[in-house]
Amino acid sequence: MEQVNQGARDHVYPQAAHALYRTLSQAAISAATPIAAVLVALSFGAALLWLNGFTGTDVVTVMVMGSFQDARSIGEILLKATPLILIGAGLCVAFRCSIWNIGAEGQLYVGAIAATFVGTSIDGLSVWIHAPLVMLAGALAGAAWAGIAGYLKVRFQASEIVTTIMLNYIALILTSYLVTGPMRDVSAAYPQSARLVREAWTPRIVSDMRLHIGILVAIVLAVALYIFLQRSSRGFALRVVGLNPHAARYAGMDVRRNVMIAICISGAMAGLAGAFEVAGVTHRLYQNISPGYGFEGIAVALLANNNPLAAILSGGLFAMLRSGSEVLQITSQVPQVLVLVIQGIVILSVVAFAKFRGMFAGLR
C-alpha cells in the first residue's frame, strides 16, 4: 500500500498534465455542440424577427456585436453572468445527486435577505471582515432554505420539485413583507431596505465599473465544485447517491446526509448569488431583485450537462444573450423577451445535437 502512495506522488505532475490535456480536448469537443446550438438558436431568432417584420440579421449584428462593444458592456455581461454561474454550478451538484431543486430563485431571495440584514444591522467593521460576512450570511441562508426542502425529502419523501417551487413563492412573499414592513427604509419613497453600509459592499474590480469580485468568486467556486464532484471522495459519494441510491446505501454511504449536502450546496450557491446582487449591485433589498436568475440557472446547469466547469461557459453565454437582447431592444425596438426564445432553442438544439452525436457514434 505504501508503494502505491509513493508511486502516486512521483507521477503527480505528468498525470496532472495528462489530465489537463484530456480535460481541454474534451472541452473542445463539448464546446462544438453549444456553439452549433447557439448558431441554430440565433438563426431561429433571426427567422422569427424576419417573419414578424423586423430586420432579421439584427439578431447577429446588434445582439452579438453590440454586447461586446467596449469594456463596459463586457463588464455588464460578466455582472449578469455572476449569479448565473453561481446558481448554475450549484445546481450541477444537486442535479448530479438527482435532486431536482427548482427553488434557486427562492434561495437567492433568502440569501439576499440575510445579506441585507448583516449588511445593514452591523456597523464599524472593516471591509475585510464585513464584505465576506455578508457573503457568508447569504450562502448560509440559501443553504438553510434549500435545506428545508432537503429535510422534507429525506424525512417525509416530499417531492423536492413541489416543495422547492412552493418555497420560491414563500421567499418572494417574505421579501415583499420585509421591504414593505420590518426592513423598510422609512425615509425612502420606494419600498426598499436601508442601504448596506459601505464596508459590506462587495469590492469592485475596477472602481468605475459595476463589475465586482463576485465574478471571480463564481469562477473559483465553479472550478472548486468541479474538482469536488469529480475528484473528491464526498463528490464521488454524491454522484453514486444520484446514480443509484440503493447501491449507495449498500456501500455504506449515508444517502440522506449526501442528499442534504448536495441540496444545501446548491442552495448556498444561490444564496451567495443573492448576497452579491444586494452587496455588489443594488446595495439595497427590493421586492424584485432577481429577474428570474434562479430559473435561468436551471437552464444554465442543464445546458452544461451538470458539469460545473461547463456552467461557467453556459452562464456566460446566457448572460451574453440577455445583454444582447437589451441592446437589441434599444437599437431596433425588438421586444427583449426574444432572449427567452433564443435560450430555449439553445437548450433544445444542444439536446438534439447530443442525440445525433450519439447516433453517429452508434453507426461507427
Binding site: 422569427l48 413541489v162 417574505l174 437552464a299 421586444p335 435560450q343 437548450i347
Partner: protein, 310 residues
C-alpha cells in the same frame, strides 16, 4: 344578520374558488394523463401560456370563443408535440426539455403579444355566465355554484370523463400500464411511443385549455406571464392528488379555495394579519399537506424515464 353576511361571504368564496381552480383542474388532469404514461412535463407553465395566447389571438381575430378555446387546445398540443418529439422520439431528458419549453412559451407569447397586440389595448368578449333556470336563483347555492360560465362547468365533465377514460377504456388501461411497465405494453403489442405521444397530447391540450380559460373565460386580455406560476402549481396538485383525475379536481378546488380565501380576507378590514401571510397560505399548506400525504407509493414507477425499445 351576521349569519346572512357569513353565508354571502361563503357563497362568494365558493364561486371564486371554483373559478380560480378551473385552470388548475384542466392542467392537472392533463398532467395526470402524461405522468401516468411516465412523462413528467415541467413545461406546463409555458404550455399554459401558449394556450392562453393562442386562445386570445384566435378569439381576437374571429370573435368566437369556441374557436378561441379550440386554438388554445391546439396551441398547447402543438407545444406538446415539440415536447413529445424531444422526450419520446429523441429520448432527451424530460426535465431539460420541460425547462426549455418554459423559456420558449414565456418568450414566444410575450414577443408576439408585444409585437401585435400590446398597442391595440383591446380585449375580447369573454364567455358569459350561464344562468341555469331555478338553480341559479337558489339562495347561497345559486351564488356559489350556478352562476359560472360553461368552461367552469365543464371542469366537472372533464374530471368524470378523464376518470372514465383512464379506468374504463382500453386506452386508459394501456396508458396506466405504460408508466408502470412499458415493456409489458410493448410485448402486448401496443406501441409505447404512440401512447406516450397521446398522453402528452392530452396533457398539453388540457393545459392549453386551462391557459385559454384565463383569457377567454376570466379576463378578456392576454398579459405577459398571465399564468403566474399556475403550471408549476398544477404539477404540485398532481403529486398531492396521487395521480388521480378526481383527486386532481378536488385538490385544485382546495387550492382555489385557499387562493380565494386570501383575496377575500384581505378585503375584510377586520382581518389584521399582514396580507403577505395570507398570500403565502396556499403554498405553506401545500408543503404541510405533502408531509402528511406521505410517500411516493402512487407515483408511476417509470415517471421521467425514456423507454428504450429493444
Amino acid at each position: 344578520m351576521d349569519d346572512m353576511m357569513f353565508f354571502t361571504f361563503l357563497a362568494a368564496l365558493m364561486g371564486a374558488a371554483w373559478r380560480l381552480a378551473t385552470p388548475l383542474i384542466f392542467a392537472s388532469i392533463g398532467a395526470v394523463f402524461s405522468e401516468r404514461a411516465g412523462v413528467l412535463n415541467i413545461g406546463l407553465e409555458g404550455t399554459m401560456l401558449v394556450g392562453a395566447f393562442c386562445g386570445f389571438a384566435a378569439a381576437f381575430a374571429t370573435g368566437s370563443i369556441p374557436l378561441g378555446l379550440l386554438a388554445g387546445v391546439g396551441g398547447g398540443m402543438l407545444f406538446g408535440l415539440v415536447f413529445a418529439f424531444f422526450t419520446i422520439t429523441i429520448k432527451a431528458d424530460q426535465i431539460v426539455v420541460g425547462a426549455a419549453l418554459n423559456l420558449l412559451g414565456m418568450g414566444l407569447t410575450a414577443f408576439l403579444f408585444r409585437t401585435y397586440y400590446v398597442s391595440t389595448g383591446k380585449g375580447i368578449e369573454i364567455a358569459q355566465p350561464v344562468h341555469i333556470p331555478w338553480l341559479s336563483d337558489l339562495p347561497f347555492l345559486g351564488e356559489a355554484f350556478f352562476r359560472q360560465n360553461l368552461i367552469v362547468y365543464s371542469t366537472i365533465l372533464t374530471a368524470i370523463l378523464a376518470t372514465l377514460v383512464l379506468y374504463r377504456t382500453a386506452f386508459g388501461l394501456t396508458l396506466r400500464a405504460v408508466g408502470e411497465h412499458p415493456k409489458a405494453v410493448d410485448v402486448a403489442g401496443r406501441n409505447v411511443a404512440t401512447y406516450r405521444y397521446a398522453a402528452v397530447m392530452v396533457g398539453t391540450g388540457l393545459a392549453g385549455l386551462g391557459g385559454a380559460f384565463l383569457t377567454l373565460g376570466h379576463s378578456n386580455q392576454f398579459v405577459e406571464g398571465i399564468t403566474s406560476g399556475r403550471g408549476f402549481i398544477a404539477l404540485a396538485v398532481v403529486v398531492f392528488a396521487r395521480w388521480s383525475p378526481i383527486g386532481a379536481f378536488f385538490v385544485s378546488l382546495l387550492f382555489g379555495l385557499f387562493y380565494a380565501l386570501q383575496l377575500m380576507l384581505q378585503a375584510q378590514a377586520s382581518v389584521v394579519v399582514p396580507y403577505q401571510v395570507l398570500q403565502a397560505l396556499p403554498y405553506i399548506m401545500t408543503i404541510i399537506t405533502l408531509v402528511f400525504v406521505r410517500g411516493k407509493g402512487a407515483a408511476p414507477s417509470k415517471l421521467g424515464q425514456p423507454y428504450e425499445m429493444r
